[in-house]
């Protein structure tokens, strides 16, 4: 829904071309220059360094490697860096966290959007307070230890769900308020209970909003290192945690070629998803932010 609206406007509104062709070429040249300066330099440095030998990579510079050994470096990182376990560790905490946060968040949002008593609006305010207020990570860790969940994927999933439920509830409640209750009424007359109404009428309508929330929450959880440093404390590896330990160990060994090889590999999953679904992701995010 948001996607199409975004694209329609894009084609109609900018139609009156004020710029002539000459300025177009200058503009494009300028865009290339800006891209090279802002993105080209850091990414070039990353790629050439990841292709070097250790001796050459000690001082990372923009020169090409004397001979490319990118594949060997990637191989070293995968075998020595326990990357495969880390990847599955990341999947193991990210997927359940996102699914649970979205499902429970959507269910709660439905009630919060439809029931308008004063008590409910207090509950809503509390539920979304987590968007702004930072979680108390030290005492979370203490509580998890007492519950026997410290260092386990269950504990991590609970913590991520708790942190990002606020965001999900905020997004979805706002959207459900725009859905007319009369849509539910019709199903209710046919004898549908709340569960049927929610799962067959409301949930399908949430598609675009759920997609946006999925993207944002996945981005944060997949890339998180701060909370996992506390909660997992080395008992389960995720990709960013693994990168942190590889780099912290490698800092004084100056293994820049391995650090960058690792970064290239760990960025690939999200980059591939982004490359495939780039248009939907971009319109999903922009659709949700500016009302």
């Amino acid at each position: 829904m948001t996607a199409t609206a975004f694209n329609d406007r894009r084609t109609t509104e900018r139609a009156p071309g004020v710029h002539r062709r000459g300025s177009g070429i200058v503009h494009n040249l300028f865009v290339v220059l800006v891209l090279l300066a802002l993105l080209g330099v850091p990414f070039w440095l990353m790629i050439v360094t990841a292709g070097k030998s250790q001796a050459e990579a000690v001082q990372p510079n923009l020169r090409l490697p004397s001979h490319w050994q990118l594949l060997e470096n990637l191989h070293t990182v995968i075998t020595d860096g326990r990357m495969v376990q880390a990847f599955f560790g990341s999947v193991l905490v990210t997927v359940p966290s996102v699914v649970i946060a979205l499902l429970l968040g959507a269910m709660a949002s439905w009630v919060l959007a439809r029931r308008t008593s004063r008590a409910m609006s207090v509950v809503y305010a509390l539920c979304i307070s987590g968007i702004i207020l930072p979680p108390a990570v030290v005492t979370i860790m203490m509580l998890l230890r007492q519950l026997g969940l410290a260092g386990t994927p269950h504990g991590m999933i609970g913590v991520y769900t708790g942190i990002y439920l606020s965001t999900v509830i905020f997004f979805i409640t706002g959207f459900i308020r725009t859905i007319p209750p009369s849509l539910e009424e019709a199903a209710r007359i046919d004898g549908a209970g709340p569960a049927r109404v929610f799962f067959t009428i409301i949930l399908p309508l949430l598609g675009p909003t759920l997609a946006t929330a999925t993207i944002l929450v996945t981005l944060y959880i997949w890339n998180d290192v701060f909370y996992s440093l506390f909660i997992l404390s080395g008992k389960l590896d995720t990709l960013p945690l693994n990168l942190y330990s590889v780099a912290s160990a490698g800092m004084y060994l100056n293994n820049w070629h391995l650090i960058f090889a690792y970064i290239i590999l760990m960025s690939l999953p999200l980059l591939i998803i982004f490359a495939v679904a780039q248009r939907r992701i971009i319109s999903g995010i922009t659709g949700g932010a500016v009302k």
Partner: protein, 321 residues
């Protein structure tokens, strides 16, 4: 699922009552009962329980344990009043880390928004080149912040890529220690944070620019506004909702910052980039749980004190326009 069985009997009666409730105008209680039946609390509880266990209870505990001598080196925990705050205050850490976090957040908000707004205006027209550039600028957003920090550490090393390029441009050897200044490194690190997220701000501003009514622009053009006025007096004020979102997310993201600073400076040099979260992580690792949780409470209070007024102010600004 318990939800279905709970709701079963009530929902049979729901439709007729619901319809009648709409017909009897003003019968508040009937409508409230219908709402209770149609939107059962069973849907709300699972989320509330998760929030309670993993968010609210730890937050309340944070208010308690900040006033104890909890540590990794002994078994018992006893209240010690304000001793933690006094210790952190008297050795200067509290004030320094608060100042660093505040300065960092303000700088990130500025960088992220200035970069994002310039890119949005620069790449506003829908040419193929601009669309390509927008996608490229979004790549840092989806990368791990830790990875971004390591990349920039390599670029900014005193014998790193940036000094090489500057050396080529100026024709002399440049060996600026970008990450070694107790005064300026925080600016550099905040700029990296702004660089990572500028693609997101750019997208939000672009979406804001697209919602501006073309008739407003045309009317202003007919009135003879020059491009400068057109931007600052007409288009920029209309970007207020986008600005609110971007400033708020930049402030919140940077006050809770950790990854980029940890990867580039780890709080140094001399603690000049030590954000509250860096302190919390460092002291937690040393078993100094009381100090760690005290600073966590400080962060909580700081975010409440800074974020709410800023967001309220920006919202009011939107309404005036």
């Amino acid at each position: 699922m318990p939800v279905t069985t709970d709701a079963g009997p009530a929902s049979v009666a729901a439709p007729t009552r619901g319809v009648r409730a709409r017909r009897t105008v003003g019968d508040e209680r009937v409508r409230k009962n219908a709402a209770k039946r149609n939107y059962p609390l069973a849907f709300l509880w699972p989320a509330i329980i998760i929030l309670l266990v993993f968010y609210f209870i730890p937050t309340i505990m944070n208010f308690v344990y900040a006033f104890t001598d909890w540590s990794g080196f002994k078994r018992s925990i006893a209240f010690n009043g304000l001793a933690n705050f006094q210790a952190l205050f008297s050795d200067g850490t509290l004030v320094r880390d608060l100042r660093v976090t505040f300065v960092y957040a303000a700088l990130v908000a500025v960088f992220q928004n200035v970069f994002g707004l310039i890119l949005a205006v620069f790449l506003e027209r829908d040419t193929r080149m601009n669309r390509f550039a927008r996608v490229m600028f979004f790549v840092p957003v989806i990368m791990s912040a830790l990875a971004v920090g390591y990349i920039w550490q390599a670029v900014l090393k005193s014998d790193g890529a940036l000094n090489q390029i500057l050396g080529l441009l100026t024709g002399s050897t440049v060996s600026t220690a970008w990450l070694g200044s107790t005064t300026w490194t925080i600016v550099v690190v905040a700029a990296i944070h702004g660089w990572k997220w500028m693609g997101l701000s750019m997208l939000i501003y672009l979406a804001g620019l697209k919602t501006i009514d073309n008739e407003v622009i045309e009317a202003a053009r007919v009135d003879g506004t020059n491009p400068w006025q057109m931007f600052w007096q007409i288009r920029f004020p209309l970007l207020a909702p986008a600005l609110t979102f971007n400033v708020a997310t930049a402030l919140l993201g940077s006050m809770n910052g950790f990854d980029i600073v940890q990867a580039t400076t780890a709080g140094g040099p001399g603690g000049s980039t030590e954000l509250l979260n860096i302190f919390i992580y460092r002291t937690f690792g040393q078993g100094l749980y009381a100090q760690s949780t005290t600073m966590s409470l400080v962060l909580f209070l700081m975010v409440s004190i800074v974020a709410f007024p800023v967001i309220t102010y920006l919202r009011r600004r939107e309404r005036v326009l």
